[in-house]
């Protein structure tokens, strides 16, 4: 609680400082000063893989498969789309089975699960290099 009180008074002191200098030009320069000599944000400072993932997430993409796979109906018209960096990938089908059915999915026409018959189709997956 003390920290919040301290923070509130510090914030109030900082904002009153900004308001007292009514000159808009000075205000802007002061604000920029606070931003540039403050703590950087991820946008400004992230690098390497972290930056690539940050940019991709902002665009709504998931190149490194961090999220759950998308839901599909699994029918012939709406097969499960399985991304792959090569031309085949192992699939484990949990749809209408009591066990997980594992099989290789090859590129080309959609394959069906040997047990429940759900459709799976391999799609090429681009990695940001």
């Amino acid at each position: 609680m003390a920290a919040r009180l301290l923070l509130r008074s510090a914030f109030r002191a900082a904002t009153t400082c900004l308001y007292l200098l009514c000159d808009s030009d000075v205000c802007l320069r002061l604000a920029l000063f606070c931003v540039t000599s403050g703590i950087p944000t991820d946008e400004e400072q992230a690098t390497g893989l972290e930056k690539v993932i940050l940019k991709a997430t902002k665009e709504g993409k998931d190149p490194y498969s961090m999220l759950k796979p998308k839901e599909y109906a699994g029918t012939k018209a709406d097969p499960h789309l399985v991304p792959s960096v090569t031309n085949k990938r192992i699939v484990g089908c949990e749809e209408d089975n009591t066990a997980v059915i594992w099989f290789w999915l090859h590129e080309g026409e959609a394959q069906r699960c040997p047990s429940c018959g759900s459709h799976y189709k391999l799609v090429p997956h681009e990695l940001p290099h």
């Binding site: 003390a2 923070l7 931003v35 403050g38 893989l49 960096v85 997956h125």
Partner: protein, 261 residues
């Protein structure tokens, strides 16, 4: 950047875990040889190797995370789990010493006079220096929380000030405890009271030194703009560890200093 299809960090081989293990061996055996033969060679060697390992390993982590960007969200999550599990293991470590204390003090043996504190022991007054030593970790808990909020809000100067204050309070606690140890009317050799007192508070003091070091190692990257308002796990880990150390002190104070006096 590696050609990997996942967001995890496959670390490159490095010698620092090995040097860390060797330093642990040298320090423990060095401690034993110091006690028995009064020679400090092994201990000195082990401590030097430990300092080298700390410097190199943490430098490597900073390079991998801040400069190379390997610490993605799943990697950070793993690090969080790791820190939580480590602190949990430390909690159990202390539970053992509290168990020992309560085992001996709840039903004091006849050889101790059938009472606690045992006959002949003058315990420290809990309302003198130990009380100050309780206010200090509580205050440092406030300052570390203040620092955390400052970092998240992007306020660099308050973050620097509060983190420095936290480190200073930690050093102050260590200095006060050292003085208490020197002035105490009983020693480690004074039966089960001395044993439980110094082992429990001694390990706690060691953890305070570790926590202070951790905070100091956070202060340095912070002055070099390494942390961002969203990604500052090193600081989070230091803050968690520091809160853990403060809470252990509270338990120590209430059990050993207050109830046990």
């Amino acid at each position: 950047m590696a050609h990997q299809a996942h967001a995890y960090h496959m670390v490159d081989p490095s010698p620092w875990p090995l040097t860390g293990a060797i330093s642990a061996l040298l320090m423990t055996s060095g401690l034993a040889t110091w006690f028995v033969y009064k020679t400090t060679t092994l201990l000195f060697l082990g401590t030097t190797l430990l300092l080298l390992t700390m410097f190199q390993w943490w430098r490597l982590i900073i390079r991998e995370s801040t400069f190379q960007g390997h610490h993605t969200t799943p990697v950070q999550k793993g690090l969080r789990y790791g820190m939580v599990l480590f602190i949990t293991s430390e909690v159990f470590f202390f539970i053992g010493f509290f168990w020992a204390f309560y085992h001996s003090s709840l039903a004091p043996a006849i050889e101790l006079g059938g009472l606690w504190p045992p006959t002949g022991i003058t315990p420290l007054d809990p309302f003198e220096v130990p009380l100050l030593n309780t206010a200090v970790p509580l205050a440092s808990g406030v300052t570390v929380t203040w620092a955390h909020h400052s970092i998240m809000e992007g306020a660099r100067k308050p973050a620097l000030q509060s983190l420095t204050l936290t480190v200073l309070l930690g050093l102050y606690f260590t200095a006060l405890q050292a003085m208490e140890y020197y002035e105490a009317p009983f020693t480690l050799a004074d039966g089960v009271y001395g044993c439980t007192f110094f082992v429990a508070t001694g390990f706690h003091g060691l953890h305070v030194i570790i926590g202070t070091t951790f905070s100091m190692v956070c202060l340095l990257p912070h002055t070099h703009y390494h942390f961002t308002s969203n990604h500052h796990f090193g600081f989070d880990a230091a803050a968690w560890y520091w809160h853990f150390v403060a809470v252990v002190w509270l338990f120590l104070y209430i059990s050993i200093y207050w109830w046990g006096s």
